[in-house]
Amino acid sequence: MTVADVLLLALGAVAVGSGALVVTSSHLVRSGLYLVVSLGAIAGLYLVLGAELVAWVQILVYVGAVVVLLLFAVMLTRAPIGPSPDLDRPALPAALIGGGIGIGLAVLFADAFRWVRHPYPEPATAERVGEQIFGAWVLPFEVISILLLSALVGAIVLSRPDIGARAATEGD
């Protein structure tokens, strides 16, 4: 049991536990904050596995942008700060499905890899990630740019009813 194994187990437990708390908590704001913990733990997992760029991107994008956006949305829509009894609380079926899938995947991986010892990978620096993207995966990278542009334009046009608003009378 190396230090890396211990760290993986610990961070994994934190991620799964806080994830479960996100879904089961009845306080909306607490759910958001538990999400921060969970995503941060996953960033920690990336760091342990040596994927530096992905870890920092995780912190920047998910923790920094997405969760902050969530909290802003909670604040601006005046969502209840205290406990909300009408929040859906997942009951037995969800727990069964989630737990079942988790255990199933764990068994699958254990059966496939057994006690294979993997050498510790090279750290995935920005340089290495860049080499891979521009050396082997240029096409999906470029097509994603179209995807993101359409998401941007779509979000704007969907949320701004004044763009292309219908006039009272017909006309261009």
Partner: protein
């Protein structure tokens, strides 16, 4: 470090599609005339189709050790051209609604063109990552297009309800789509863990310790992609989403989005062993789709359930793996053309911007619009697999023939039984089109006059007529010369 070699000629269809999208935005910005924007997008879509067919099979590009990301083959070119043609057709069908202002024209054309770009990417994809990115690029603009509805300031509450339903359909579609993409990505990850590759030409059975892992990965990938074709049990989003979205967008969902899912599935099943999962999906999809369609009262929901069942026939062909892919792609091509005609006729018979209406709203429509009725009969007969829709008949024969030849006779029996069940509702719709309209309950001097007064005639606009004419001509031509489609997709 060397960057990848790029062959720009092979990429011409992608460039054309992306350029169309950008051109639509720029035209809307600088010229700001709806007609110019729509014309630019239409021309761009046609240019994409021409580029795809003109380039045809070419050397693969974006290659790395092991495989290539962009693989131009003849089937890829034909399906890319099909995506472009469907985009042009749906845009033409939307023109009356755009004229009414139900959606901002520039953004609408741009999003449709982005979808087309995603479709073209799927057609030529050479590895799983490009495939998923293409699939997402195809679907993401559709989340927005489904929910994009502008109401006029003085509109009654009815229109507001339509906007709410559209928004809820959009959110449902988005949520389920995202979950299924996550499942598909998990499948790809498991497969990568087992085999160490994502390039399609390197996919195959994994070495023994990882066989179970790879198998589960393949199954998850198939289930995630099965959502896109609305296979049972991942189909529940389809009828509600089709019904609450604008009619041309429902047409696009039913044709192009399904085609994308079929192409992605075809790429997977021809290389990985997924027969068991696919056969279960196929049987469930066909049977549930047909049985529930029998009970529908709304036109678009009936067409949605019928397209779920039709996807089941395609899944049955894909169950066979690599030998079934030509039959599946041929069926998908014939199906897409006929479905476009069906949705086009429904669009033509309804006021611009309206939804599909109930089946009773279409009663007697063929007596007032004989050519539209004939087109609808062509489409419904083709979907049922009977003449005069010869295209559909050849589609069914090719799938059943492939199943029998490869030894999947039990699945062939299920397919033909479902074909009989399906005829029951296709014939119901076709008969309803020609039924005399219901007489008013009280005695009137001139029932026809009363009917005409209470059911104002819908003028069919020119873009819709032209689209239907072209689509019907193509359906008749491939009905009499199906070898064109079969040779193109071999």
């Amino acid at each position: 470090m060397r960057s990848q070699a790029v062959d720009h000629i092979a990429l011409l269809p992608l460039y054309a599609a992306a350029a169309t999208a950008v051109l639509a935005l720029l035209a809307d910005l600088f010229v700001a005339k709806r007609a110019v924007t729509a014309a630019a997008t239409l021309l761009g879509a046609l240019a994409t189709a021409v580029c795809a067919l003109a380039v045809g099979p070419w050397d693969p590009t974006f290659c790395t050790t092991g495989g290539c990301s962009w693989v131009p083959t003849w089937p890829a070119a034909v399906t890319a051209a099909l995506f472009a043609a469907l985009t042009a057709a749906v845009l033409a069908l939307s023109l009356p609604a755009l004229r009414l202002g139900t959606a901002p024209a520039g953004e609408f054309c741009f999003l449709l063109a982005c979808s087309m770009t995603g479709g073209v990417t799927i057609a030529y994809a050479g590895d799983l990552l490009t495939l998923i990115v293409g699939l997402e690029t195809l679907t993401l603009p559709l989340y927005i297009l489904v929910g994009l509805r502008r109401s006029a300031p003085d509109d009654s509450a009815a229109d507001g309800r339509a906007a709410t339903r559209a928004a809820s359909a959009s959110v449902t579609f988005f949520l389920i789509s995202v979950i299924s993409t996550a499942i598909a990505l998990l499948g790809i990850a498991l497969n990568y863990a087992a085999t160490g590759t994502v390039h399609l030409n390197l996919l195959g059975p994994a070495p023994t310790p990882f066989a179970a892992l790879a198998g589960v990965g393949a199954a998850l990938l198939v289930i995630g992609l099965a959502f896109k074709v609305a296979a049972v049990p991942l189909h529940a989003w389809a009828p509600a989403t089709y019904d609450d979205s604008p009619l041309p967008i429902a047409a696009f969902l039913s044709t192009a989005s399904k085609l994308g899912g079929v192409l992605a599935l075809a790429a997977i099943v021809s290389r990985l062993d997924t027969g068991a999962v696919m056969s279960a999906l196929a049987v469930l999809t066909m049977t549930v789709g047909n049985l529930v369609a029998l009970r529908q009262t709304r036109m678009v929901r009936l067409l949605a359930w019928s397209s779920i069942a039709q996807a089941g026939y395609i899944l049955a062909a894909l169950t066979m793996g690599a030998p079934g892919v030509p039959a599946a792609l041929a069926y998908a091509t014939f199906f897409v053309i006929l479905e476009l005609i069906a949705f086009g006729v429904v669009t033509a018979l309804r006021p611009p911007g309206a939804d599909g209406g109930t089946l009773d709203d279409h009663r007697g429509a063929a007596r007032r619009h004989p050519w539209l009725g004939a087109a609808m009969v062509l489409a419904l007969a083709g979907l049922a697999g009977l003449p005069p829709g010869l295209a559909g008949l050849f589609a069914k024969v090719s799938v059943v023939g492939a199943l029998v030849t490869e030894g999947w006779t039990w699945l062939a029996v299920v397919v033909v039984i479902n074909a009989v069940i399906a005829l029951a509702y296709y014939i119901r719709v076709a008969a309803l089109l020609y039924t005399l309209p219901a007489q008013p309950g009280i005695a009137v001097a001139d029932p026809i006059l009363v009917y005409d007064a209470t059911h104002p005639r819908v003028t069919v606009t020119r873009p819709v007529i032209v689209t239907l004419l072209i689509a019907a001509t193509v359906a008749v031509v491939v009905g009499f010369a199906p070898q064109l489609v079969f040779s193109a997709l071999m």
